[in-house]
Amino acid sequence: MKLIVAIIQPHKLEEVKEELYKIEVNLITVSEVLGHGRQKGITEVYRGTKETGNLLRKARLEIAVNEEFVEPTIKAIIKGAKTGETGDGKIFVIDLKECVRIRTEERGSTAIG
């Protein structure tokens, strides 16, 4: 089991969701986060005061999958989120020790899908 965490452009969320549905990955968690990588953030101005390096708005996806879904999920996220510009984001793949479905108390890979 793996936990896939992706940081993407917020306006690419719909397309990524669409690609994930196509490969039948339906269980995702999305949150709004701030961050920047090579984009170096942006400058904002409030009443004449400049604030440089402010963080950009991003969407963070968390998807827990069984091994055979790892590559298709990564490919789907790339397909939906890639523009080729800086700021497209990153995908992190983390080993997942355990997964429990609260309703049924199932554990492990049967609890994921």
């Binding site: 306006h11 719909e14 942006i42 904002e44 708005r57 510009e85």
Partner: protein, 409 residues
Amino acid sequence: MINSGDTAWVLICAALVLLMTPGLAFFYGGMVRKKNVLSILMQCFIIMCALSIQWVVVGYSLSFAPSGGFWGGLQWLGLRGVGFEPYTDYASTIPHQAFMIFQAMFAIITPALIIGAFAERMKFSAFLVFTLLWATFVYDPLCHWVWGMGGWLRNMGALDFAGGTVVHINAGIAALVTALILGKRVNLEKNTPTPHSMPFVVLGTGLLWFGWFGFNAGSALAANGLAVNAFVVTNTAAAAAGLSWALIEWLRNGKPTIFGVCSGAVAGLVAITPAAGFVSVIPAIIIGLLVSLFCFLAVTVLKPKLGYDDSLDAFGVHCIGGIWGALATGLFASKAVNSLGADGLIFGNPKQFTVQLVTVGVTIAYTSVVTLVIYKLVDLFIGMRVEEREELMGLDLTQHRERAYTVLE
């Protein structure tokens, strides 16, 4: 003779109409994505600033100084000669400047209505130049034709009590033209934008409804029975239309929505605007009930079918609602309500309906052509649309370097 009651009423109404523009800002601002909300508020507020100046320097004279020409005369430039004595051809019991400042608020809100069509994708600098040109070359002449002394539509007998034609059809058709040539927002099909703050939409609708009493009842230009009639029918039509939109949604989609009730109420206020000083309360209910049906069809059937991206339905609500209101005035107007008006079709005067039709036709033709020319000119020199990268990041950050909401703290 100056009447202090009338003067007080018109000044209060001017303030009420001014409040409609911030109301509109919240109404529209709630409908856009949160990366663009400040751009909407900014566009509305800068119009309050820019048009206030345009109006006292040139706009009032071009609109209202007596003349039989294309514009009003130039004799009132910079408010020269516009003083504290009544100008009896417009309003015989209030200072001329009170009439002027009341009219200023109409000149402000009209271009602000168009914002709904090009929301989320227009460059701020281009917007500002476009708006000033539009006010001078579209609003001012049309205002003169319908309301100014010597205006040819006024002489023809067109009835437009508070601005159904001059304000709503005018702004609505300009909205359609700009939406058509500006094109759709990036990625619209795959990423359908959801209104980011429904409470703002409701707040804006409340402010609009409140301010609209100034818009319509103030257009009596006196604190009298006619003002009361306009007040009552305005409230009635808005109520009927809000109710009717909710019912349509209930029947068609299974659930009524607050967005629907707000859209309906605004459509009702638009439709009653030209009729407010000429119709009684039962026609107001009919006008309100039907306007929601027409506008609902425009935004849910016509818009997807024709494929233009009128982001916040400025055309679908203001132009469609305005046309219905102008024609309904030709149907339901009654001299029993206003002896200075005329009877409509159902009171045995079909000619009034024809006059209303001609006025609507002239407005659509003139406004669409001149809006197109102004758009193309500004596009040539400044460029109307933001770059795709800027559109995706949002206009708040790229046009103003501000953001509306923080994520942390």
